[in-house]
């Protein structure tokens, strides 16, 4: 079997285990290529039936407009339910306080809204598109990753995961984060998107955009980004390698508009995918710390 077929078959089996083992699962959908891939895999796992879970989007309010538009079109096309949790609501109610300063981002605030959305809807399993090749904390996370009532990941108390047998038994209040594409790399996802002809938001392809250079990376110049006189706005041909908040997702310079060129560019790139994420540059253990706090 071809490697993409193997990865696909494994991911489908994991999604079906979620359907079989949990009462109220959900698929965390960010509008990025990984969660879009999950949607295709869910179609392969459950059609012609409906998905046994809704899509859940934690909207920071700072998303790329192209991504929100894409999300709504996709949801309409597949005819599945979408639940949106708004970070703005948590800010308005005073549950979280918006960061200040130049590098302010709502990325970290997502966790509160995510946990609230889980609690409100009583989700017992949340499917996410994280991959183990992204980051070393993720390299150690299980495919079925048990979180306590506070959403915390405890790396020391992970269950051993044997064969393809996933233990989803939990106590009330706990939930499981499930990562069906754990064994995929960034390049695998791109090759799969190409093979399956999956539509992705336009910002993954090169386009002209106003950007500023900050901390050695290019950021989209936008009202969500706190800018001052030092920031020089310039127009460049760029594309995005990951899709998160506009305030924490850096662009790469590129003129590539075809998926083959992008795949080639990525396979030759000397910078890891998350090298373009400001949220990981904070410290050596940034991801590990966020996961312990409930981040997905």
């Amino acid at each position: 079997m071809d490697y993409l077929d193997q990865l696909e078959a494994e991911a489908i089996a994991i999604l079906r285990e979620v359907a079989g083992q949990f009462e109220k699962p959900a698929l965390l959908f960010s509008g990025g290529k990984d969660s879009i891939t999950l949607v295709r895999l869910a179609e392969k796992a459950f059609r012609p039936g409906k998905f046994p879970f809704p899509l859940v989007h934690v909207d920071t309010g700072h998303n790329f407009p192209e991504v929100i538009e894409f999300r709504d079109k996709l949801v309409e096309k597949i005819g599945e339910k979408l639940i949106i949790g708004h970070v703005q609501d948590a800010i308005d109610s005073g549950k979280v306080i918006e960061q200040k300063g130049k590098n302010a981002s709502r990325n970290a605030l997502q966790t509160v809204t995510l946990l609230e959305t889980i609690e409100k809807n009583q989700f017992d399993a949340c499917i996410g598109g994280a991959r183990r090749d992204e980051e070393k904390a993720r390299a150690k996370e299980r495919i079925f990753s048990v979180r306590d009532e506070f959403g915390q990941w405890d790396p020391k108390r992970q269950r051993p995961e044997l064969w393809n047998t996933f233990n989803g038994k939990i106590h009330k209040g706990e939930n499981v984060r499930v990562f069906p594409i754990s064994n995929w790399t960034e390049l695998d996802v791109w090759n799969y998107i190409k093979r399956e002809n999956i539509e992705i938001p336009s910002i993954y392809y090169s386009h002209e955009r106003e950007v500023i250079e900050r901390n050695g990376v290019l950021m989209a110049a936008h009202e969500f980004l706190n800018m001052d006189a030092d920031d020089i706005v310039q127009t460049k041909s760029v594309r995005f390698r990951t899709v998160g908040d506009m305030t924490c997702t850096a662009a790469v310079e590129s003129v590539k508009t075809e998926i083959d060129d992008i795949i080639l560019e990525i396979s030759q790139s000397k910078i890891s995918e998350r090298g373009a994420r400001m949220d990981d540059k904070v410290s050596e253990a940034a991801m590990e710390d966020r996961k312990k706090g409930g981040y997905f």
């Binding site: 459950f46 070393k136 790396p155 995961e161 047998t165 050596e284």
Partner: protein, 415 residues
Amino acid sequence: MDILKFLTAGSVDDGKSTLIGRLLYDTGSVLADQLEAIQKSNRKNDDGTVDLAILTDGLKAEREQGITIDVAYKYFQTEKRKFIIADTPGHIQYTRNMVTGASNADLAIILIDARKGVIEQTIRHSYLVSLLALEHVVVCVNKMDMVDYSEEVFDKIHADYHTLATKLNIKEVTFIPVSALRGDNIVFNSEAMPWYKGKNLLEHLETVPVHEIDSLLPARMAVQWVVRPQTDALHDYRGYAGRVLSGAFKLGDVVKVYPSGTSSKISKLETFDGDLQIAEEGKSITLHLEGEIDISRGDMIGEIERAPIVASQIEADICWMDTRELDTSATYFIQHQSKVTRCKIKEVLYKVNINTLEKVNADTFGLNDIGRVEIKTADELAFDPYEINKRNGGAIIIDSRTNVTVGALMLRAAL
């Protein structure tokens, strides 16, 4: 291109981290930002070169507390294959970690320090490899640079290990003399060992045959989910979703549903991308049967001629993975494929001293203990003996109080 999953067995002292680091580094799998982090580090080898072991460094929680967390997965690829490394570090919980890593691996690399030869640890690692029935074993005799790249040293270890492998019934072993530190025979052939005519490690990993559909294995599929759209258009639609565990199903085959024993004919092998004539091992499909049959999650669909063992009294090998000892009076859950039922581990037949391979008497099992037990399950399981078809022979034990996975089972026979 296909995937090879392998695990590396050895301790830090054997240069295991350096070996993995070397593989990643010499295949160009280390990116600039990661490399920059390594070069910035104060950890250097004696000769000032970068310490590649840093590439497998752990989490903050591990560094702070001096512990290691079971399995870390690493990924790289060449033009020939995609590789998934299960890196199982640690001394204390080594057995548990290695069993976990080995359960999903096609191949094991066993590291032997050329200066030490076959030692107790080698026996332990090799026993686990044979217990988990890995198809391929590569013995890397490491630190050849420390023994002047001596062919005699290599030959002696080769002969010693061959004796051990025969005893453990490990069939396919490949021996490669390497120096992970210097990069000899890892990704590049060694100039210092012209006497070695075999493949280097990467060449071997790229070419060893895996995932060839084993047509000798019986067809099995555990039902994970019943697809029932219940819409007007698809009113009578009923599909059984699952993954072909072993063998192959063909359209029109007469199959049985276990444990009930009902038989029916395959009317459709459906996938999102179109219907199939034949569904082979590894494929996730939706299978349709003629007639109305009562099938639910947890059932096993299999061929009639070579039926699985259907039993509720089972003999099995167990690896205990919890700090809390096995309680032979307690009720646990057993999960075999998509089936979960209650069970009791009624009897401990013996424990294995994995350093000497002796069977010893025991009443219970503690963390990392391995041995043979008798199990009674509430519902019948439809399984194959692990040594014949490991794809349908493994199961896990779950503590019903904590919900934690506390044991790995290799099912052997009905009692």
